[in-house]
């Protein structure tokens, strides 16, 4: 598997994602500069966390115009696996590859802490190795992760099971107390209608080694590794 990690000016989690793919998973990763117009034959596209363009206007607002985003869109429309983590998720929202928008955390503060997240859909390339309802412990680190969409859009997401991750308590129960930022329906991550584009605010790449406190995030990477292997078997 080869993962293209897109680097926007101001990205700051690109090396973390690259490290997991290369060192923990033993797969190929390539950093792709935002002005690049090719994805270098990657099987997976990963939009990492950070502060693209400083997040000065709105998170992800300027990054979506980067030349590489045209390729990412094409890749996504073709049904290939794309994941946006944190700032990467925000870019996918601004680019219209996923519905909705981000508001500031209801605390009005940046929050960096471990949270629990429930996997609500296992039929995406990034969650197919999860068990349904699996609770994983991974960190969040954001100031604007308060997911919002118009009520009818949210209903639609729920009906089409596009909510992939939901903030929950350690026992999997979902309530306002387990909602760190005010996201509607405790939404932590969603996927596209085609299910191949996934965005989430928590950072699975920060939770791939026990030495760092949790390896619960690794399952997302293992999932896509399996997804890629299966699709290439089908292709062959």
């Amino acid at each position: 598997m080869k993962v293209a990690v897109i680097v926007f000016p101001g990205s700051n989690c690109e090396h973390d994602a690259e490290f997991v793919v290369r060192e923990v998973l033993g797969q190929e990763a390539e950093l792709v500069w935002h002005k690049d117009t090719s994805l270098h034959g990657a099987d997976v596209v990963l939009l990492p966390g950070g502060f693209a363009h400083g997040d000065y206007l709105r998170t992800g607002a300027i990054a979506r115009f980067s030349p590489v985003m045209r390729e990412v869109e094409r890749f996504a429309r073709a049904g290939a696996p794309v994941i946006g983590i944190c700032n990467g998720f925000q870019v996918l929202l601004e680019a219209g590859l996923l519905p909705g928008a981000m508001l500031r955390n209801r605390s009005l503060k940046y929050q960096c802490e471990q949270v629990h997240v429930k996997v609500e859909a296992t039929d995406t390339p990034f969650t197919l190795a999860c068990s349904p309802g699996q609770v994983i412990r991974i960190p969040i680190a954001h100031g604007e992760g308060n997911y919002y969409a118009e009520p009818d859009v949210v209903d639609d997401l729920e009906r089409k099971r596009q909510v992939v991750f939901r903030y929950c308590a350690a026992d999997g129960s979902v309530s306002d107390a387990s909602n760190p930022n005010g996201s509607v329906h405790n939404i932590a991550g969603i996927c596209s209608e085609g299910r191949n584009v996934v965005g989430l605010m928590p950072h699975p790449e920060r939770a791939c080694e026990l030495a760092l406190g949790s390896a619960d995030g690794l399952v997302l990477f293992e999932s896509v590794l399996r997804a890629v292997a299966e699709s290439s078997r089908v292709a062959r």
């Binding site: 607002a61 519905p99 928008a101 308060n146 919002y148 005010g182």
Partner: protein
């Protein structure tokens, strides 16, 4: 010429910042301040021939970049004595 683009959260969207400011004002004793909403604005110096051109460019830029139609609407003023016209951004 100068155009100003005022961007606000749509009325249907909860504004945590405005609410926090309102709460703080109440704590400070300003009970008469009933509601606060916070927005941002951009002053654009635009090099164009006419007020119409300036407005057109400002509008394009507001649609494309300065506002996110999912959560925000905007209003444009062009500085020329003419009062700006309100309108929701759309793309």
């Amino acid at each position: 010429m100068r155009a100003r683009v005022y961007v606000t959260l749509k009325p249907s969207v909860f504004d945590p910042q405005g609410t926090t400011v309102a709460d703080a004002l109440h704590t400070l004793g300003y009970a008469s301040v009933k509601d606060v909403r916070q927005g941002k604005f951009f002053e654009l110096d635009i090099d164009a021939a006419s007020v119409g051109d300036v407005r057109r460019i400002a509008q394009e830029v507001a649609d494309k970049l300065l506002s996110n139609p999912v959560i925000e609407s905007y209003r444009i003023d062009v500085e020329s004595g003419v009062q700006g016209q309100a309108g929701e951004g759309s793309r």
